[in-house]
Amino acid sequence: MEIIFPAVNIASIAPQLIVATFAILALLVEVFSKSSRLVFATCLVGLFVAFALSFMQWGRGIPYENSLVAVDNYTTFFNALFAIVAIITMLLSLGYVDNTGIDTGKYYPLILFATLGMMLLVSSMDLLLMFLSLELLSISMYVLVGSQRDRWVSSEAAIKYILTGAFASGFLLFGIALVYGATGTISFTKLESLLSGLTGEGLPLLKMGVLLMMVGLGFKIAMVPFHMWAPDVYEGAPTPITGFLSTGSKIAAFALILRLFNNPFNHLFSDWVGILWILAVLSMTIGNVAALLQKNVKRMLAYSSIAHVGYLLVAFIALSTRAMEAVVLYFTLYAIMGLTAFGCITSLTSGEKERLKQEDYTSLGYTQPVQAVILSVCLLSLAGIPLTAGFIGKFYLFSSAVDAGYVGLAVIAVLNSAVSLYYYLGLMLRMYALPGRFAPVEVPVGSPVGKIVLLLLGFSILALGIYPSPLVGVVKGAVTALSAL
């Protein structure tokens, strides 16, 4: 028997390959050089090259008949997005990791591995590759969450994350098994062609499989009722990793869900509408309500990120092209907002002392003006105040839901946004509360690189709130690839 090796088109997965190569290269650098700066530089270069490559790939989709990897605008868009998210995470980590007992030589390569997992997750066209890249992402994240070895909360977050995460991926695996059993294939394209002919009640086996897969993926995006791990893990993880987790990891899994329900499982979606309707309401409400009185800022933002999943689901339910555009646009905007919010907390760390409590933020506007201003912009944006990116994002989300006839859901979402104002503006007002008789004098904290990155992020929140059209155009291009399959 002769084995014919497949013709591998290296160029098609160039960004992913570059990320993997540079991660391994960085590990080698770590072994042979003592400088963790060099490791950092290697990783950064790799991400920039990957970003540039995905930039060049834009608009040059490769048709995929039997390929495991989709190379289309959707993938390319997310490759670029994840590269940027990873770059920002790394730059924000600078200074923070050195003070908090993290082994930087392995920390940065692991960020790259997690990024690789995200990229492959969004580009996978096969349940096997999907499962493997999800695991690559998750396992890198487990380690990163626990990377502050000397802090108990970090270890506790890591053990909670890996236990619940592995539990969830068990569900995912069993779900995949049932889907495979019901259809006899694990390829998205074949699944789609098989399922498009499906009529009537549908197969219980298949439905069960999709349900269990949604448990596993719902865990990843922290959707109610699979959200419970999120506040604990977000609180315990090193702050830059919290940002990474709440943006990159969540977006990757959600982007995959988008692809799943647009292509292979499109015909099963009608059964999910009612369920997702309720889950969206629950996610928004539980997230926002639980955030109301949080004393810990990281935990508050964690709950708010659960609420944001709810907002995303509001549009996702519509599953129209317009809704997909809205969701992908919101991914991008939420990535910026999440990174900014957690980046500000990172940047406010002095030595080992982190500002986690609400009290630590009293009158911050007078002692640490730069971070306070950026955090305020970010909070306004998260709350969806006009002229910020968050408003544009929410406008698109809710209007596409209304457009598809889910007026009630959109109303609930708007009411939830109103509730969320309480805690976002509460924190903001706290930062600008007048200091007491003796204004505290503080040395400005935060690494200069981090501050510059934060300034850029804050600026882009405003810029995208005023002039979102270019981004919207790009997002439209990305989503066409999704529906063209």
Binding site: I159, K160, L163, T164, F167, A168, F171, P204, K207, M208, L211, L212, M214, V215, F219, V224, P225, F226, M228, W229, P231, D232, D271, W272, G274, I275, L279, I286, V289, A290, A291, L292, L293, Q294, Y303, R322, E325, A326, I392, F395, Y396, S399, S400, D403, V419, L455, I466, Y467, P468, S469, V472
Partner: protein, 641 residues
């Protein structure tokens, strides 16, 4: 409609450059020296000004019918078929406005460099000021109602920020708040008007609303929309009865008063009505109301200005009065005259305010004209430029204000009737009188300064040069609109004519040259009479006692005027106190029972949930796993059913 080409494609630069300046000053202003801040802020406005001149030149080369350029900069939101584009519109009206706004702003910026040189918050000041210019340019260049509204609210915000710029002063903070609340009251109507426009036209785009206005709108609907829009204009342009905020707004630094509360922002209301003129033309009722409000405002505030002693408040009331003139012009069907007056008034009033700023600084923050005098010898350049401003304001033939005011008065006589013309003649005499009362009291007579003024501070070069340039504009700016009756070409009218369809207004060709010349002569004589009276009262030796005696004999009138016709008092009695009482009553009676239970109950319930819900996070792994499994089971039950 002409698509933007060539230079017109760069139209967006006009507002964008000041925005860039504002961003620079906001982000880096505190890091760099004041010199850099001044160069950036003045330079950005100057560039915008140059840009507007280039555009002006390009626009003049087009045939008049094609002077209507639209530029859709980008779509702010486009989701499905819902679009919110950022449209700009350049036509003679907005052209005239941006040229005036950018250049007057430029001069005031330059002046501010000198005026604010010692202030700690130099960069903050210029950041606000540049931002204001951005919003103002956006407002006048807007091509749809939404952009206009953004600019409208933006200038309001900047005005509020600048009024309470010295926020340590209680009066400044409360004046800012008053301006904010009162103008917001007007804005509420404006927003309603915009919504009504959207409901009627399914569009906010000027190019779709105005040409179709006479088809779509019934007269009643046109009246409603026009009145709602005019409500916004009343608030912003400080017309009776919402004029009370403007005198208080004088807490702002004087250049701000010159820029925002005299030359530009307060004229936005006039601009708005002029912009929406196609709608107003459909409804004689609304035009009549505009005219009446304008007439009343012009008269009432001119009368108040007669007796005030605070130099800036006199000018503020004068501004309100002149804005009234403009609305009267709009109301009696002479929009070009109104816009003409808007321009000449901007020059003259900016000049007067800047001059008063120099006076105030010279005497170390002294604002009471009773404690001034004899400054001619100390700050002569200010004195002579102030004189030109006062002459222009009083409407002395040859100066800018004369031509524009005359155009309005003429239209009033023709369309508004004898009575209103007579009122305006009286107002003209008031105007001339208070301008020169101010002038003579400030610069002539004997020294009446406070003892603490040891030396008079001289304005620096950067302050004087804008004064001189503005004086030039105030003196000669009127020649762009010399009426046909005097053998002029009335260029401004023919320039603005494409914006206002000629069929409905009458200020172009006059029925009789002789009548126009007679009217002019009457106005001029009345103005000269006012000046003469002021001269007699304040310069002629012994005349000084006359005002005092008058004050005693007419003490009722005097009190009535100096209290500003009791507007604030009436508001206090009619609105504020009953409101507070009612609120008190409701607090006692209703709040405890119904509303309390509803509002606080709901809010309290949500907050209680905020306590309970997170308690569901037990922190236990198996609890989290349990919630997943239970979730899966419940979802599965409904899904597989």
């Amino acid at each position: 409609m002409v698509e933007a080409t060539g230079l017109f494609n760069k139209l967006w630069l006009v507002p964008a450059i000041p925005l860039g300046g504002a961003l620079f000053n906001c982000l880096l202003g505190r890091r760099v020296s004041n010199l850099v801040v001044s160069i950036v802020s003045c330079g950005s406005i100057g560039l915008a000004g140059v840009m507007s001149l280039l555009l002006f030149n390009a626009l003049l080369k087009l045939p008049p019918a094609e002077r209507h350029i639209e530029l859709s900069v980008y779509n702010w939101i486009f989701s499905g078929d819902f679009r919110v584009p950022i449209d700009l519109l350049l036509d003679p009206l907005s052209m005239a406005m941006i040229t005036m706004v950018s250049w007057v702003s430029f001069l005031i910026h330059v002046y501010s460099v000198g005026y604010m040189r010692k202030d700690e918050s130099f960069a903050r000041y210029f950041c606000y000021l540049n931002l204001f210019v951005f919003f103002m340019l956006l407002l006048v260049l807007a091509g749809n109602f939404l952009v206009l509204y953004i600019g409208w609210e933006g200038v309001g915000l900047c005005s509020y920020l600048l009024i309470s710029f010295w926020y340590e002063r209680h009066s400044a903070a409360s004046a800012g708040l008053k301006a904010f609340v009162v103008t917001r009251f007007g804005d509420f109507f404006f927003a309603l008007g915009i919504m009504l426009v959207f409901v009627q036209f399914k569009s906010l785009y000027f190019g779709e609303v105005f040409p179709r206005a006479h088809e779509v709108l019934t007269p009643a609907m046109a009246t409603w929309i026009a009145l709602l829009i005019f409500g916004g204009a009343i608030g912003k342009s400080a017309q009776v009865p919402l004029h009370t905020w403007l005198p208080d707004a004088m807490e702002a630094p004087t250049p701000v008063s010159a820029l925002i509360h005299a030359a530009t922002m307060v004229t936005a209301g006039v601009y708005l009505v002029a912009r929406c003129y196609p709608i107003f033309q459909l409804t004689p009722t609304a035009l009549c109301i505009v005219a009446i409000v304008g007439l009343l405002t012009a008269f009432i505030s001119a009368s108040i200005a007669l007796v005030h002693n605070d130099i800036k408040r006199i000018l503020a009331y004068s501004t309100v009065s002149q804005l009234g003139h403009m609305f009267l012009g709009l109301g009696v069907g002479a929009p070009t005259a109104a816009i003409f007056h808007l321009l000449t008034h901007a020059f003259a009033k900016a000049l007067l305010f800047l001059g008063s700023g120099a006076v105030i600084q010279a005497l170390h923050e002294e604002m009471d004209i009773r404690r001034m005098g004899a400054l001619k010898g100390y700050i002569p350049s200010t004195c002579w430029t102030f004189l030109i401003g006062a002459l222009a304001m009083a409407g002395i033939p040859g100066f800018a204000g004369f031509f524009s005011k005359d155009a309005i008065l003429h239209a009033t006589f023709v369309n508004g009737g004898m009575l209103s013309w007579l009122i305006m003649i009286v107002t003209a005499s008031f105007t001339a009188f208070y301008c020169f009362r101010l002038f003579f009291n400030t610069f002539f007579g004997e020294k009446r300064w406070d003892s603490h003024v040891e030396h008079v501070e001289h304005p620096t070069q950067v302050m004087t040069i804008p004064l001189i340039l503005l004086a030039g504009l105030a003196a000669f700016g009127g020649y762009m609109g010399v009426p046909h009756a005097l053998g002029g070409a009335d260029k401004i009218s023919s320039f603005l004519a494409p914006v206002f369809p000629p069929a409905h207004h009458t200020d172009g060709g006059s029925p009789s040259k002789a009548l126009e010349i007679i009217l002019m002569a009457v106005t001029s004589l009345v103005a000269l009479g006012g000046i003469g009276l002021a001269y007699f009262f304040y310069i002629v030796p012994g005349g000084r006692e006359t005002p005092g005696r008058l004050q005693q004999t007419l003490s009722g009138v005097y009190k009535f005027l100096s209290n500003g016709w009791y507007f604030d008092k009436v508001y206090q009695v009619v609105f504020v106190e009953p409101f507070l009482k009612a609120a008190d009553f409701f607090w006692q009676a209703v709040d405890n029972s119904v509303i309390d239970m509803a509002v606080r109950g709901l809010a309290g319930f949500i907050l209680r949930c905020g306590e309970v819900v997170p308690k569901l996070q037990l922190g236990l792994v198996r609890w989290y796993a349990l919630s997943m499994v239970v979730g899966a089971v419940i979802i599965g039950y409904f899904y597989l059913r």
